[in-house]
């Protein structure tokens, strides 16, 4: 079961992506496991915006070698990445 904190992380990331890459429109179509790359939700400058958001919100530093689809390419993956970073 997810803790309150995990749910908050997922909600905040979803809100950021919707506000910044989906023009604020959430018609429920953004699935948690959907690839940002395949759906074209995020482009190369968008990834850096997402990284800036994660760094400022969660207070960790994203290293260059963490700029991979495994870490950043869906809501689920970003949330898992944040949890890993916070645990480290």
């Amino acid at each position: 079961m997810q803790t309150m904190e995990q749910q908050t992380i997922e909600r905040d990331i979803r809100q950021f992506v919707i506000a910044n890459f989906l023009f604020g429109e959430d018609n429920g179509s953004l699935k948690a496991d959907e690839s940002f790359l395949e759906t074209g939700i995020i482009d190369s400058t968008g990834v850096l915006e997402l990284v800036a958001f994660l760094e400022s919100t969660y207070g960790f530093r994203v290293r260059d070698n963490e700029l991979t689809p495994d870490n950043l390419d869906s809501l689920d993956k970003v949330a898992a990445f944040v949890r890993r970073k916070q645990a480290a």
């Binding site: 023009f23 790359l37 395949e38 995020i42 482009d43 400058t45 700029l67 991979t68 689809p69």
Partner: protein
Amino acid sequence: MRVESFLERRAADTADKTALISGERRLTYRELDHLAAGLADRLRGFGLQRGDRVAVFMENCPEAVATIFGVLKADGVFVMINPTTKAQKLSALLQDCRPVAVVADNRRLPTVVESAASVASVRGIVVAGGDGNVEMPGGVAALTTFPSLADVYPPPTWKRGIDLDLAALIYTSGSTGKAKGVMLTHRNMVSAANSITTYLQNRADDIILNVLPLSFDYGLYQVLMSVQFGGTVVLERSFVYLHAVLETLRRERVTGFPIVPTIAALLLEIDLAQYDLSSLRYITSTGAALPTAHINELRRCVPHAKMFSMYGLTECKRVSYLDPADLDRRPGSVGRGMPNEELYLIDSDGTRLPHGVGELVVRGSNVMQGYWERPEETAQVLMPGPLPGENVLRTGDTFRMDEEGYLYFVGRRDDIIKTRGEKVSPREVEDVLHQLDGVAEAAVIGVPDPILGQAIKAIVVARAGACITEQDVFRHCGSQLEDFMVPHTIEIRDALPKTPNGKRDYRALLADESLAAPRTT
């Protein structure tokens, strides 16, 4: 010579060499040629005849490359469409070029079905990936799956066209706001590819990393040229995850990396020293001017790779390149004409100038045939050349040319915005803004941006009593425009500045921006 013969030669000479790497997939020249032949067979099955158009609406994938060559094998004309194009714009493009068929990937099929319903010319849709189970409205078009490597086809029965036939229409933004199809023959494309691979000194052991969309001629030519010289292309869908792209570069021992200034800016955001870039032989940049500071920084990070700074127009593919040996002697220059191409300046009367400042004219067999079904706009850019029946291209760009023929950009005639290396017509974005309920007036300008080159800014005035938010405007633009055309910033104002005769005063808007911009000195 025709463009598809590049591939046919490779399939005969180096059939087992890897032509294409895309994620986990690797295709040899034989396999690529086989898929192309299969697609040609499908298209002929739809009734495609010599000169008929085929629209290609796919992200970067092996099937997109096979489609380009397959359309040409079938004697058709390929039309690449930006994969982020929305349904309404796609309809307009299809109505303009009237293709016999559309080749799409599965993800884009719903958009194609929606758009093609209103286009009577479309007799068939070929879909790559997925199971192809889609209901076709009205049953106008037949749907078929992309050929597979296991399929067997009868040998072609049709007589092959010649190199004066059209090979492609490449849509480009124009100042009118309507995209224009640049008509290129096989001879145009073969000539441009020959010139470029000559100055890049490409060899069969070159491995090109292409992160640019194939709908962008710069991306398209990476594939055409690699097949021409028998190299290998590593096809990425985009330049989104920097680390992943640079790891691919290392893993595949990439030798050639074509970029646009936005990619250069992003690369310089990270610490390149931690990556193994030792395989790189050259980096090319075009699409917009690459700042000298970025050129020098990239050279510092990748000292063994040659940096080619280039300038081009879809209308002739490439105009000029600066020899890497000249970078320090002529900073800020876009270089000289390509091999087998002549460049010169004319003054406002059309008189040829030996050097000095004037409008740049391009003469060469790479110059387009004109804009598809737009004789008036064609007449504005093509003018008779020195020989009977020959046309030269007026670029509309003003340059300074020194006595040795080196070119320095001075300014553009039109107000086209260059963002992320792509051209955007402010009119096209304004037209979309005006369609939004509650918008009284809108103006679109390009403002300097360190990453994008120019960022698109929209200034919107709401109708009396209407309430529009920035988010409404973003959402509307995102639903209508290709991704790179969506404004980066939006400002809602009460009124737009006007010139004394009542026109929108773009100069005043641009002046506001330069006042607001932070000083960098």
